[in-house]
Symmetry: C2
Subunit: 332 residues, 2 copies
């Protein structure tokens, strides 16, 4: 229905991406997104080993014959992760699209290029995006302040960040953060993006592996029901508002607060996975973006993609075209 | 060129508003915006007395025969302001559009209604907008996190706040915050607004009364060159990044900081007016939004309006329509 620099560059039918998500980006969700004609990204580090990633790629392929990609998030960790081995699995798998995130993708680009893998790099700032473009990535997924997870420390809203990026970048831009519906897709295209990334929206789908309580809570939450944590430690994350995230925020604001003071409450990925699995919404922190306020019901991935596309089409062809009057002669 | 619920309701040619701005919203700027076919709003409290407001309205009328409005910002102040007298001047002046801001407009609505004055209320949250709609205002100007001045304490980016408001309100919505170009107008219309408010963009015009140094700095600044101050005192304001605003932010973060610690540095409206008048950019704080990053040159108001309209039209008719392919038969 849409043809944009993103759909052309990556050979994906629709300008919609479900970016990598810890715990959430499984073979099932990735395949469901792919089957809907959008770009699903299997999250490499959900696999405890490179060997398991190879299995998950195989598993995804059994569930869809459409193209899909793999997300490789590169972060400093206490226990070193064999990123090169994960990368090698991706290159040998035949997957042709990778999303890199978390740090400079430079060390990994030559191998991906050689294997004919196109790279989407996630960036939270125009200057980082420009650097990645110069390094040779094929597209930028630019993450605004509204996004779930890590928006960076600049706090630039998408309505400014997307056009600021579009004015400077020449490669396709995927708008990320705050987008959950067709109005968001139409707006992102107007702002100069050529696709949208939706995280929170795809978490609240029937094919998403999280507990139903989480999906229902995303639908119940308003745009005000996320908060930022870890700002004081320069590792800001946007999470759903609950008793745990409120406590963490409160303790962090105390004079002289140290990360140790909240480490147990936060306990990183484990707490998140616990909530997503057991559905006890107060058992830990879990990521959610401001676009929760735009999500009202759990749908299948196919329904999400279909609704977003048709709403965007209607907005462009009916609302926008209808509001634009052809004045061949100026009114006065 | 555009016909929207905003242009129809208010009888304004273009869906563009230059909202009230302390010091900046003079007769000259208001008339220049009106002459460009957009809605200019003369800022009532720039007049030290109601009598002076009557003179400024007369002055604006001498400079334009197009419709314009008056902004009446109602805030608690140490020295009581005779709001009723300002209101009476507006009602008797024949001006037919008012922008209210700062607090609940209820006490003023009956007089405005009786005088046939349409009311635009500025709100920073959907719940406040809904309350104003229930009170009977004619439109909402909804201010996202990116805006200069007071974004409120919820920190919802425009890309979420505008559609969240549009889903619930029935009266026209003016999207405010982060918008400075035609991409912003097209995006705002896509998100459900029927006009845009631009503050920072109109500050950097030839007809704006601020010192040239300020206009040039807005053009030089990037989207990262604003910061939030007064968050700790629940009166958040977005201002240009400079040595004063950085100092205020730093002092405010200190354990046990009180407003008195920064009162002299801040010194409110006086400091702002000093910078805007003398052009010494480090002499005080001055308001600027994130959309600074989208403003590259000082233009006349007519040029700004013309560029915004034509860019939005091109985006809708060329970029968006071109990206939308007509698939009469589904692809697969």
């Amino acid at each position: 229905m849409f043809r944009t620099p993103f759909t052309e560059t990556f050979g994906i039918e629709h300008p919609i991406v479900c970016g990598g998500m810890t715990f959430v980006g499984t073979a099932e969700l990735t395949a469901a997104v792919a089957n809907a004609g959008a770009l699903g990204l299997l999250t490499a580090l959900n696999s405890p080993t490179p060997e398991d990633l190879a299995l998950q790629i195989e598993r995804t392929r059994e569930l869809t014959d459409k193209p899909f990609g793999v997300n490789l998030t590169i972060l400093p960790t206490i226990n070193p992760i064999p990123y090169e081995e994960y990368r090698q699995v991706i290159c040998e798998s035949g997957v042709k699209i990778v999303e890199t995130a978390g740090s400079n993708p430079a060390p990994h680009l030559p191998s991906f290029k050689e294997a004919g893998v196109k790279v989407i790099h996630k960036a939270v700032a125009v200057r980082h995006a420009l650097k990645a473009e110069a390094l040779g990535v094929d597209a930028i997924s630019i993450d605004g302040f509204e996004c779930a997870g890590h928006p960076g420390e600049d706090d630039i809203g998408g309505i400014v960040l997307i056009p600021a990026a579009a004015r400077q970048l020449r490669i396709p831009i995927i708008a990320s953060g705050g987008i959950a519906d067709g109005a968001g897709l139409a707006a992102a295209l107007a702002l100069g993006a050529s696709a949208v990334n939706m995280g929170t929206r795809f978490v609240a789908t029937t094919e998403s592996p999280v507990h139903d309580n989480v999906k229902k809570q995303i639908c119940a939450n308003t745009e005000r029901d996320s908060i930022l944590v870890f700002r004081e430690f320069h590792n800001t994350a946007r999470v759903a508002r609950n008793s745990i995230s409120e406590q963490i925020a409160e303790i962090s604001r105390r004079p002289g607060a140290k990360f140790d003071d909240i480490a147990e409450l936060a306990s990183g990925a484990r707490a998140r996975e616990r909530v997503l699995t057991n559905g006890d919404l107060e058992d830990g922190m879990w990521w959610a973006g401001q676009c929760q306020g735009l999500i009202d019901e759990v749908l299948s991935c196919a329904e999400v993609v279909d609704q977003v596309l048709h709403e965007a089409k209607e907005i462009i062809q009916v609302r926008l075209a209808g509001q634009l009057q052809e004045d061949l002669v100026p009114r006065d």
